[in-house]
Symmetry: C4
Subunit: 196 residues, 4 copies
């Protein structure tokens, strides 16, 4: 029961984050296709952030599906993750409206970094109350190389924002593509056991 409500609340917050980002796509005054053109950077940053929030929902879903026990610490680690993700619409809008200016790319990377750290903390808390580092959940997660590589690439993106902005953007897009391949680690383990 504990877990169900944690999932429901997270789903609600993630669904709203996903959807209010589209409010940054302000309806233009002109009525021809040319009026849509200036919205392109806002649209592109919306697509990137949509994919990122989708990735977090997906991974959160997989992580929780292997969770049996939820503690007070897990509840707060989860809220901490939602806090960082809730800043995504702001960073997305700032980046899109300023055509991927250096400072906006750095802030965007910073929010991604904060979310990644918060996710790692949440994963750590959940593993701690679900069998520890030798339990079935930790084994199912394996070495988690994606989770370890992502912050490195975010840091590279932040560092390059001011001298090679396109590289920063490329880092963020690359990490998103890397995660788009769904997390088969837990899934494989789960499918091995009959689902209810």
């Amino acid at each position: 029961m504990h877990k169900t409500r944690l999932e429901a609340f997270s789903d609600g917050v993630l669904a709203i984050i996903l959807t209010i980002m589209v409010l940054e796509l302000k309806v233009p005054h002109g009525a021809d296709f040319a009026a849509l053109w200036p919205l392109l950077p806002v649209f592109l940053s919306y697509v990137l952030s949509f994919v990122y929030v989708g990735i977090y929902w997906n991974n959160h879903h997989h992580l929780l599906s292997g969770t049996r026990q939820v503690s007070g610490g897990v509840l707060w680690a989860n809220l901490h993750l939602l806090f960082w993700l809730s800043l995504t619409p702001f960073a997305t809008g700032w980046m899109g409206e300023n055509h991927f200016a250096p400072a906006t790319l750095a802030l965007y990377g910073g929010i991604l970094m904060g979310s990644a750290v918060a996710y790692a903390v949440l994963q750590h808390c959940i593993i701690a109350v679900n069998g520890g580092p030798d339990g079935p959940l930790a084994r199912a997660l394996g070495r988690d190389w994606k989770g370890k590589l992502s912050p490195v690439l975010y840091l590279a993106g932040i560092a390059s924002s001011f001298w090679l902005p396109w590289l920063a953007g490329a880092c963020y897009v690359f990490v998103a593509l890397m995660w788009l391949v769904p997390d088969r680690r837990i899934e494989r383990t789960l499918l091995a056991t009959p689902q209810e």
Copy 2:
């Protein structure tokens, strides 16, 4: 459990899409009925989009009710559908505020088209992991003539936007009315088996 969370997240996103569209109905400054008059096109496009999102919720509900197994591919196909639907408020607002101008009708049709393709992809992915083209879900869906006719009519609407705008609008309204009849195919199959 997998399926439950997919449904809950989709419900959340669809509920928010439905509701933020009404934010385009901006409160007018005048205090008499005449002040409402300029809002009529915005209101009419809101009604049309409300019906469309309602149709997607309804069909999604029916499709998922016949689903037993969910894969990583299904999760992403579902997010892809939600992405297209999340653009509906933007297209609706642009169309309503510009009194159904040609370009806005074409974009609206394009978003409908994208949503329809995404729904077809989702349906395909779900069938693939739930018994395949000869399984009970595929049989319950039958020949799916509505699903095949809709994109044709959307294309006709987009094509006619610039020379017969009223025909484009009529296409979109017709498809909506066609789907308003609920999808009895799966329902009939489900009611034949006792519900829990």
Copy 3:
């Protein structure tokens, strides 16, 4: 399962309606209490609409708790109710910002009326597939005098908007107070049977 998702989706839409109404309470520029004063009519109409949406959630909850079977018609009757309720934030904002001007009172009453009719239709559809007019749900609902009196009072409110605006407001407030007493009819029946 059908019912669960209908409830979840309705909860989502009602929760969002409830919450976006507060967005009409725009943060004032002044930093003293006097700056809050002009917001009073907007606040009062927010309170009234909050109570109304709360009443609908409450009654919807009670109605669905006595429901076993859901049909395609019920799904659409439910969406129809949500459509009318989704117009509440607009009517509330218009009424509040124009200090309860006659036309705004009439529109507010019209939206209340539409919601009441839509609720009656939903109730009718649900009874039809859950034992009919002689079944346990219909018996639990009883004579439903509140449901029959409300539209009469809404009509009285709409009619008096242009010559006795305070009476219109009094009608709407009275109906809200009348419903604040929770619907004990179904509850009593449900409590008589052990809850799961």
Copy 4:
């Protein structure tokens, strides 16, 4: 079943409150870090309110997890709590945009006070239908010193708003920190019994 829907609806409203507060963080026009500087007070008040809403979600979650029976009175006591919490985004935005001016600090404290009283009423109603003051839920909640100390500190904050604004802010931050330690009382009791 009753309880499930109460939780789902509350989760929805709390998730939306949490997320629309971030809309007050308006995307600035400048594209450098200096443009973010004026947003600092808005950001700080967002963080404080995020923590408060998180605390309410957490405590609500713990309270409901010990609840077996829900009455009509509980439904309205819950809506009453959600009403006060729904005013949080307004109070947060007003406080942040006016750099913690005295009147805004007092209003913020007033909303916190209202929420605390509403929570106490809800807790009282839930205890009344779940075994009364000697039942297992009341025993699990214990003496509830945090719940009794908080209103005192809110009152101190409101009272000091106009002569020692920093003290008001310190009171609100202190109460938040005090609650950040999760409510182990019920949790301990619950963990003693096997979870399903």
